[in-house]
């Protein structure tokens, strides 16, 4: 199983790199010209994201460095305990929408402390894959087209995160 997954991951990108130009070639597309034409947009898009990403990462960075996470964890753990969520995994739930790297760090720490095959280890692994880094995605994607009024995007993203995290807790409790 693990080998099979590894093989798929290893081949996915080389396969796409070959398949799409090959299809274009058969369809008589000038593949080299089309490629450079598309690639031109890469620079502008990347640069346009900068202000949005700076704003978002600074506020998340300040929040993380302050130690406010511990306060929030002790504030939330009586509530999260009601749905069978161990207090140790609360920082994981808070971190997941804020920072992908941060959440990976918390998960790695929980796995090494409690064991990969413990309930906490498994639960945090499922939480990691259950949702995305909402704040990062919104900053980058809206930033790329200079959207400032995001309407219901953040509430919807956070509700989806909450559902993903709660489902992760329930599934881990049921299956393991």
């Amino acid at each position: 199983m693990l080998n099979f997954i590894q093989i798929i991951s290893d081949f996915a990108i080389p396969f796409i790199l070959l398949a799409i130009p090959a299809y274009g070639f058969i369809k008589k597309v000038k593949v080299y010209e089309a490629f450079t034409d598309g690639a031109k947009e890469g620079f502008q898009t990347a640069v346009r994201i900068i202000p949005y990403l700076v704003a978002m990462l600074v506020s998340i960075g300040v929040f993380r460095a302050s130690g406010a996470m511990d306060g929030l964890t002790s504030l939330l753990s009586p509530v999260t305990g009601l749905i069978g969520m161990p207090a140790e995994t609360v920082p994981m739930a808070i971190m997941r929408p804020l920072s992908g790297g941060g959440a990976t760090g918390v998960m790695t720490d929980l796995i090494t402390t409690h064991g990969a095959d413990s309930l906490i280890g498994r639960m945090s692994s499922i939480m990691m894959g259950s949702t995305e880094t909402t704040f990062y995605v919104l900053a980058v994607y809206f930033g790329a087209v200079s959207i400032k009024k995001t309407r219901h995007a953040l509430p919807a993203g956070l509700i989806a995160d909450a559902v993903g995290i709660i489902t992760a807790v329930i599934i881990a409790r049921l299956m393991f």
């Binding site: 693990l2 490629f35 034409d37 890469g42 949702t131 995305e132 489902t167």
Partner: protein, 203 residues
């Protein structure tokens, strides 16, 4: 909403940092995060160019239109405001495909391409459309089938079966994606989230 949360994270951070005696850590975090943001953005240029180039070939060869047609029924339901043959549909599909396969590097450029295409349909300059919010809600709830990095970390921590979390993860991510779509469709009807065309900067 985003204004409140952004401000709260900074305010709570600075106040907590001062109380905890972490105030220099706040300064360091602010500066290093700002630097990191630029590093990430600049680092994106190469991969962006690569995938946007490949995407252009897929577009010119008709591959994307082929994909769009195959998934038309679902896409039209999810994005009723986007014409079925619009290039935005193709870009959205490519982004989702990359996400499902766990190709994060490819997913971001394709997603940004989709946002650019959706922006061409936007009557305003700086306000998100329903289609954009729906697209991002699906994106932020993640549809990854194989969480490769989680499996790798579990394997290196000596798990007896590192991949056992694939099934539960698919269930959890499916639940969050369904919740995202339902929430978006409900919230977009609320008066406070309406697009107030009259007061927007029309292009």
């Amino acid at each position: 909403m985003i204004n409140i949360i952004w401000f709260l994270m900074i305010a709570v951070g600075v106040i907590f940092g001062a109380i905890n005696g972490n105030i220099t850590a706040i300064t360091d975090a602010a500066i290093s995060s700002a630097e990191l943001a630029v590093e990430i953005s600049i680092g994106l240029i190469g991969v962006m160019a690569l995938w946007l180039g490949i995407m252009k070939i897929a577009e010119k060869s008709g591959l994307i239109q082929l994909l769009s047609r195959a998934l038309k029924i679902i896409m039209v339901k999810l994005f009723p405001d986007v014409p079925p043959e619009h290039p935005a549909m193709g870009a959205i599909i490519m982004n989702m495909a990359a996400n499902v396969l766990g190709l994060g590097n490819a997913a971001t450029p394709l997603g940004l391409k989709a946002m650019n295409e959706l922006q061409t349909l936007n009557p305003t300059e700086d306000t998100a459309t329903d289609a954009m919010v729906t697209f991002l809600a699906i994106n932020t709830s993640s549809v990854t089938l194989i969480p490769a990095s989680v499996i790798a970390i579990r394997a290196s921590a000596g798990s007896a079966n590192p991949a056992e979390i694939i099934g539960p993860t698919i269930i959890a991510t499916a639940a969050s994606t369904v919740a995202a779509v339902i929430t978006v469709k409900l919230l977009q009807r609320l008066p406070r989230f309406q697009m107030d065309i009259e007061n927007e900067n029309i292009k």
